[in-house]
Each structure stands twice: as structure tokens, then as C-alpha cells.
């Protein structure tokens, strides 16, 4: 694999947006048949770099060299024709087309002016078989899981004989098993000589997969290293420019009285027979595969899909949570998993977002008090160290990590007694992740009861006082912090 001529090189690349520098003098070298990790905190310039490599943006300075030739991609199509393909976190398939149509969209095999359907389905089936994916090429894309959609995108990349395949956080919404399958396929692609750029915030998974790593920080190139010569802490240090001692700093807290008691909660079609307790000062982790019903439980606790059976008790009193307004009045906050769709109004300001749940408390007689609103937002944003130009800045302009901080500030502003966090650190950089974990820990120390849904096992193990595991709409296991191990949780989460 080593000492090969590079397939693609990036030299002295710079890019500005308005007055803001996104990339400065960045370099990257990709060899045929290597898996190359691109690392950096959110806002470090990874997205901009790959968007330049795929022709979405044009660089201000610097050049792209592809197979020894300097190239200029005017648009994404140019790059794709050259053999550079990107797969994003959220697959972008056409939901109403089937797998084969998605693979060959815009490039359907044609015979005598008509689409050769049979040939297309046969080719699609072969591609899927080659990837070891048991899917019917006639399945509509909307029926596929995220992981399966990614497989279709990979099949598509293979079918256009991609020489460079860029994968932007492909694992962030996959379960552990799906990640393993994906890795197998990526390794197989490597043997065919494809250069693969792999972006992920889950550092631990990279060591099993990656050959070399390039780190960016604040839009600038930091270093390129052989993966076998670096450790996790080396990588973190390169990314944040300082050493983070511990990623999961859960303080030991003696839990107080039971705040939330859930008994035999059920919503037909989603989950059944859910019983657990949550004490003051406690962080309870909820592990399980995607689709196990964890988010559905959270939605019921927050009144979005009210419970059909069972009881919810707060401080020993049975309560009926019929809407988010009721849940909020009872002191329950919910940080949803989908930040962009459910957590934030991207087009509105930071202040508008943070104040939203408490807007009526901030106003008198229905009249807005913008001064109090700005104060609340400024305090909240400061407490969470949101990097921003001011509270009037649009939330959509912030990086993912900072957006997540705004969501947290929004819910802390409601002074909840019970806080449900759904994937609180998905897709955010290590620095912000550590900050979120520190915050959770100190909130618990102050007596808040926290239910944390997470698909990241190290996070569940590191942050939780107790761990609940869900599978197919039921709680299948409960462990104390001491008992819990990765293996036990996985066993309870999968049908073992």
C-alpha cells in the first residue's frame, strides 16, 4: 500500500466565505488503495475541503492534482466524471425510486433509445451481491434503513468506477453491527485500489480501519500521520491543540430521592411494558440499537406521543402528560435527536431559539420583552461557551457543535428537573463533546435527573450511573455503573 504514486493531491488550498477564512494553505495526499481519515473539530474545514474536492466549491487559491494532472472542477458533475464521489452522513437517494434506479440515476443503460431495464436490474443485483448486501434491487429507497441507503450509495460509487470515495461521517447514525458491515465493505473497496477518505468523530473506530490520517484545525493543515504511529490522545491533541485529560468526566454523586417513576408504559406499535426510575442527581443511560424504541419512550415522556397505557409518576404523584406544554410545566425538558429538524429553528437567531420554550414567561400580557430575552440568551450562551458573533446571529450559521450547545442552553433555560437527552453528542467534535459531558455531570451534581439516550457505548459506559438497555420496544436489561460492560450491553441490545 505504501510508496505508491498519489491518486489525488491537494496543494496550498485556500477558501474564504465573505470575510471568513474557511481554509488556509491546506494539503492532502491520497494514495490508491488507502483509507485516509480526515479529522478535525467541527468548523475545522473538513466539509469545505471535501466540497472543493468534489467540485461543489471552487478554491480561491491552490490546486487539485488528479492522477498527475492539475484539474479544475467547475461543478460536482465534473468531479464525478473524473471519478471522485462523496457519500454524506445523510444519504441523498430519491425516496420514490428503487435501488437500481438510484444506483444508475442519470446513467441508465440504454438500448435503442430506451432504458434497458432488465440489464439495469441485473447490474444492480450484481453490485449488491458484490457488496454482500441481501437486498432486492426493486426495493424503494424510502423503505431502506440509513445503513442500507449508504450501501446503495456505495454501490453507486462502485458502478461509476470511483477512484476517490469520500465518506463524510458515514457511521454516525449506524448501529455497531452496521458499522462492522460497512467497515468490511470499505476494506474490500481498498483492495480494488480505490482511495477512500473517511471522516468520523468516533476516534476509537478509526484505528481498526484507517491507514493514514490528516488532521485539520481552524482551517489549517496540522499533520499527516501513519495511523499505527499515533494514539487517541495524540489525535485529540492535534485536533484541539491541547490535551483533554478525560472524555467522560462523570463525577460520583449520591443519588437523591426518586423523581421520575415510569410503570408499564406503553404505546402500541412503539414500545410496551417500560418501567424504570430516575433519581435526583442521577444520569441513567439508555442503550440499544436504532429503532429499539428509545426515542419513542422519550417522546412519550415529553408528551409528543402521549402514553396509551401505564403510568408516569413525578415525585410519587401520577401525572398525565398529554402535550409538550404539560411536560414543560412539570419540569421535563427534552433535547431531541434531530437537532436541525426538531431542536432548532435554523433561520432564526440564537436568542429567538433559546427563549422559545420560555417565551410566555419572558413576556408580560403577551408582549415580548426582547431585553429579557437577550439577557437570558446571553447568559445561556455564555454558560455553554457558544462561539458566536452575538445572540442575534442566525443559528443556522453556527457549526454543529455550537448548534447543539444552543439546544442545550435552550432547555437549561427552562430549569428542568428531569432532562431527557437524545443522542446529545451525535456528530459533534471532541472538544464540544467533552464540554457537553462536563455540563451533564455538573447538572447531575446540582440535583438534576438526566435520562441519556446514546448509541455510543463508550459514552453510555462513561457517563451513566445506571444503564437501561432496550430491544424491540422493551427494556431487556438494567446494569449499575460497575456491572455495565460493552459486551453485556451489546448482548442485551441484540437478540442474544
Amino acid at each position: 500500500m505504501r510508496d505508491q504514486a498519489p491518486v489525488m493531491e491537494v496543494h496550498h488550498l485556500s477558501k474564504h466565505f465573505g470575510g471568513v477564512r474557511a481554509l488556509k494553505d491546506v494539503q492532502l495526499e491520497l494514495r490508491a488503495g488507502e483509507i485516509h481519515a480526515l479529522l478535525g473539530e467541527n468548523g475545522a474545514g473538513k466539509s469545505t475541503l471535501i466540497k472543493i474536492m468534489t467540485g461543489f466549491y471552487q478554491p480561491d487559491e491552490g490546486q487539485l492534482v488528479f492522477e498527475g494532472q492539475t484539474v479544475h472542477f467547475g461543478n460536482t458533475r465534473d468531479a464525478q466524471l473524473a471519478g471522485i464521489v462523496a457519500i454524506y452522513q445523510e444519504p441523498s437517494l430519491f425516496p420514490d425510486l428503487d435501488i437500481a434506479e438510484n444506483i444508475f440515476v442519470g446513467r441508465q443503460p440504454v438500448q435503442r433509445g430506451r432504458v434497458a431495464w432488465r440489464q439495469m436490474y441485473r447490474a444492480a443485483a450484481e453490485l449488491l451481491q458484490q457488496l454482500g448486501v441481501a437486498l432486492d434491487p426493486r426495493t424503494k429507497a424510502r423503505e431502506l434503513s440509513v445503513a442500507q441507503q449508504q450501501m446503495v450509495e456505495i454501490a453507486r460509487a462502485i458502478s461509476i468506477k470511483a477512484k476517490v470515495l469520500i465518506m463524510d461521517e458515514p457511521t454516525s447514525s449506524l448501529t455497531q453491527n452496521e458499522v462492522a458491515e460497512l467497515f468490511a465493505i470499505v476494506r474490500q473497496l481498498r483492495t480494488t485500489g480505490t482511495a477512500i477518505v473517511f471522516i468520523s468523530h468516533r476516534l476509537e473506530e478509526l484505528f481498526a480501519l484507517v491507514d493514514r490520517v490528516t488532521v485539520l484545525r481552524d482551517g489549517a493543515y496540522v499533520a499527516t500521520q501513519e495511523m499505527e504511529h499515533v494514539t487517541t490522545s495524540d489525535l485529540i491533541q492535534m485536533m484541539v491543540g491541547r490535551t483533554l485529560n478525560e472524555l467522560f468526566p462523570k463525577q460520583a454523586v449520591v443519588p437523591g430521592p426518586v423523581v421520575l417513576q415510569v410503570e408499564q408504559l406503553g404505546v402500541p406499535g412503539s414500545f410496551a411494558d417500560i418501567s424504570f426510575t430516575l433519581r435526583q442527581g442521577e444520569i441513567v443511560g439508555m442503550a440499544g440499537l436504532i429503532g429499539a424504541g428509545r426515542t419513542a419512550v422519550a417522546r412519550t415522556l415529553f408528551g409528543i406521543d402521549p402514553a396509551v397505557s401505564g403510568t408516569i409518576k413525578l415525585d410519587g404523584h401520577a401525572v398525565s402528560i398529554t402535550s409538550p406544554q404539560v411536560a414543560m410545566a412539570l419540569g421535563i425538558g427534552y433535547v431531541p435527536e434531530d437537532r436541525k429538524q426538531q431542536g432548532l429553528v435554523l433561520a432564526m437567531s440564537i436568542a429567538n431559539n433559546i427563549s422559545l420554550p420560555v417565551l410566555s414567561q419572558l413576556s408580560s400580557g403577551g408582549w415580548l420583552n426582547t431585553r429579557r430575552e437577550q439577557q437570558l440568551a446571553a447568559t445561556g450562551a455564555q454558560q455553554l461557551e457558544v462561539k458566536m458573533a452575538g445572540v442575534r446571529q442566525q443559528v443556522g450559521q453556527l457549526s454543529g457543535g455550537n448548534q447543539q450547545k444552543v439546544v442545550l442552553a435552550k432547555w437549561l433555560g427552562t430549569n428542568p428537573r428531569v432532562l431527557v437527552l437524545d443522542e446529545p453528542t451525535r456528530g459533534i467534535d471532541v472538544g464540544t463533546k467533552a464540554a457537553v459531558h462536563r455540563l451533564m455531570s455538573s447538572l447531575a451534581a446540582q440535583g438534576m435527573a438526566i435520562l441519556m439516550i446514546s448509541s455510543e457505548l463508550p459514552e453510555v459506559l462513561g457517563m451513566s450511573d445506571r444503564v437501561l438497555v432496550m430491544r424491540e420496544g422493551r427494556i431487556t436489561a438494567e446494569f449499575t455503573r460497575v456491572e455495565a460492560t460493552q459486551a453485556k450491553i451489546m448482548a442485551a441490545a441484540t437478540a442474544a
Binding site: V20, M348, L359, G366
Partner: protein
């Protein structure tokens, strides 16, 4: 239509800076409307000596007050990304109901109050179907558009209700005391102030923008979306009924076809005012400016004998421009230098004004003046 499931690749917000906000402030849609209003006013003054007479200007406002009154809640509705096609039919139903009661010998003020109630109920039905049962606003109000108008015909049939007392007709024809200010204008100004304040200064207005931008997130933030949407449709029905009373008072009679087609004018004005049809943005000032623009445009064209059909052509093209321009301006923003983008936008605004003026002149030749 098929859309890609995710759009991670296509959206990248431009970086934030104080300069951007300044630029955005300078090239706001509302300013373009002001420029157009001034341009039309200047043109009108040159074309007709009668244009600038206070009497004429004040009298012409009464032709637009019903539209204006219905536009106020329409701004709310479109800001949330919804629509109400039934307003003119609600207007017809309410006015016909009042006329029917009048024929039955009911006191006119009692009948008018009942008509307002009917309007509010008509809006409530729309609101419940759309917000509570989550049916699409376009279809629901298209249904009630026919339904309410049909009820109006059922009430009055071929006859017209006539003979309203002068105290009532002064609502549409009268002026304020000894001044020349029409009563309807005063009602509109007060309502516009109230609606503007609600939209800008009250939690209700903020919720409207939030719902228009991201209804799911607003639900996840504890915003009572259902109640707000119902309230907004009730307001719409109520204002349509009020517009119906004023229109009936102005005509001095009610026929069941009263106000037919006005819903489209109201939507035109609202969208021209910069209220995004996709919801989430737009200002009350913009809508009021658009009303003013359409008003003086129609009045000016009428003064120089431009026929109604040609007026429609002018206003139609103006509407298309109003949605085309922001898109062009958005593409100009992609120009890297701030100054370039701003100059580009100002240039675009000037070009449009000149083109529009030329079109305005040329439109007179379409149908020869008498």
C-alpha cells in the same frame, strides 16, 4: 415530485458578519417597494393633474380597504406557511347572512354582529380542519371556498338585500366627522396597527414565524401550534366578515356574489409585500406597502384610462417579478465581495424600476385611450 432524502450537500450558510446585516438592511424588499411607490407616484403626477388631489387620493383608498382588512390576517397565515382561499367566500357568506337577516326585519346592527360571528365560525371550521385534523390548508380552504359561497347563494338566491339605514352605509361611504377621511380607512389603519404590533411585538407573532420556519421544532419547544393556527383562521374569518360589512355598506346592497375573486387579490398583495409563500419571513410593513403600491398603481392607471385588463397584466407581471427578484438578488449575494453584491442589488433594483416604468408607459398603447 421526488426530492433527495437528505440535502447535506447543498446547504452551506454564508459566514456571518456585521457587514452582511448592514447589506441586508440596505437592500431589503421593503425599500424596493418604496422606490416603486415613489416611481409610480411621480409617473402618475406627470400623466394626470388629478392624481395628487387629496380628495381623489382619499376616495380611492376606500376601493382597497376590504382587501387591506383581509390582507392583515392573510399575512399571519402565509407567515406560518399556510393559505386561506376561502376569505372572499366568507365575506360573501357573512354579508349575505346580514342581508338575509335585514330582509327578515332584524335590526341592522344585530344582523351585522351576527354576520361577524358567522365569519368567525367559518374561520373556526377552517382552523379545526387544518390544525386539529392536520388536513392541507390549500385543499380545506378550496373546499370551503365553494361551500361558503354556496351557502351565500342559498341564503339570498337571486335577490339582493337593499335599503340599509344611512347609519350603517356610512361604514363604507361615510367620512370621519367633518374631515374627508373615510371611516373604512380609519378602521383599516387601526386594525393594521394592531395586527402589526401583534406580529412584531407579541409572543403570538413570534410563534407565527417559528411555526412558519419549522413547525416540528416549534412543537418540540412546547409552542401550542394547534391553538395558534386555529386562532389565526378565526381572525381571518372575522376580518373577512368585517370586510363584507364594509363592502355591503359601500354598495348599499348585498348580492350573494359580493366580493367574488378578492381572495386572489389579497394573496397577490401579501406575496408582493415580501411575505414568503413558503412561510417564516416577511413583515407587516411590506404587506402594507404592497397594498399602497397596488392601490396607487390601479388608481393611476384608471386616471389615464388604462383598461382593467391591462391593469391586470401590469399587476400580474409585478407579482412574478416579486418572487423572481429575491432569487436573482440571492444569486448576486454569492458574489464574493460585499460591495460588489450590494452594488449589484442596487443596480438590479434600478433596472427593474426603469423597465417597469417603460412597461407602464407602453401598456397604455395596448388599448388605445378614448
Amino acid at each position: 415530485m421526488t426530492k433527495p432524502i437528505g440535502s447535506a450537500a447543498t446547504t452551506q450558510q454564508p459566514a456571518y458578519s456585521a457587514r452582511d446585516t448592514l447589506a441586508r438592511l440596505l437592500v431589503r424588499w421593503e425599500w424596493l417597494l418604496v422606490v416603486l411607490i415613489i416611481a409610480v407616484a411621480v409617473l402618475n403626477t406627470r400623466l394626470s393633474p388629478f392624481f395628487l388631489r387629496t380628495n381623489n387620493l382619499l376616495r380611492t383608498t376606500s376601493d382597497f380597504m376590504e382587501i387591506g382588512i383581509m390582507m392583515l390576517p392573510m399575512v399571519f397565515i402565509i407567515v406560518t406557511g399556510n393559505i386561506d382561499l376561502s376569505i372572499a367566500s366568507t365575506l360573501g357568506l357573512s354579508a349575505s347572512f346580514m342581508g338575509w337577516l335585514h330582509i327578515m326585519g332584524v335590526n341592522i346592527w344585530l344582523a351585522a354582529t351576527a354576520a361577524l360571528l358567522v365569519g368567525a365560525l367559518a374561520g373556526l371550521l377552517n382552523g379545526v380542519l387544518i390544525a386539529r385534523l392536520r388536513l392541507p390548508a390549500l385543499v380545506v380552504t378550496l373546499g370551503t371556498f365553494s361551500f361558503y359561497r354556496g351557502l351565500a347563494y342559498a341564503l339570498l338566491g337571486d335577490q339582493a338585500a337593499r335599503g340599509y339605514p344611512p347609519a350603517f352605509t356610512s361604514l363604507g361611504q361615510g367620512t370621519l366627522g367633518r374631515t374627508r377621511i373615510p371611516v373604512a380607512l380609519l378602521i383599516f389603519v387601526l386594525l393594521a396597527l394592531a395586527f402589526g404590533l401583534v406580529l412584531n411585538r407579541m409572543t403570538f407573532g413570534r410563534y407565527l414565524y417559528v411555526i412558519g420556519n419549522n413547525e416540528e421544532a416549534s412543537r418540540f419547544s412546547g409552542v401550542p401550534t394547534v391553538r395558534i393556527k386555529i386562532a389565526m383562521y378565526v381572525l381571518s374569518g372575522l376580518m373577512a366578515a368585517l370586510a363584507g360589512l364594509i363592502l355591503a355598506a359601500r354598495f348599499g346592497s348585498t348580492r350573494p356574489d359580493i366580493g367574488t375573486g378578492l381572495e386572489l387579490t389579497v394573496i397577490t398583495v401579501t406575496v408582493l409585500g415580501g411575505i414568503s409563500i413558503f412561510g417564516g419571513s416577511g413583515t407587516m410593513i411590506g404587506a402594507i406597502l404592497a397594498l399602497l403600491l397596488i392601490g396607487i398603481l390601479r388608481f393611476g392607471m384608471g386616471l389615464v384610462n388604462i383598461q382593467g385588463q391591462v391593469q391586470d397584466i401590469v399587476i400580474g407581471s409585478l407579482l412574478i417579478l416579486s418572487i423572481l427578484l429575491p432569487r436573482l438578488a440571492g444569486q448576486l449575494s454569492a458574489i464574493r465581495s460585499w460591495r460588489g453584491a450590494t452594488l449589484g442589488k442596487i443596480g438590479l433594483a434600478l433596472l427593474v424600476t426603469v423597465l417597469f416604468g417603460w412597461f407602464f408607459f407602453w401598456s397604455r398603447t395596448l388599448i388605445p385611450a378614448k
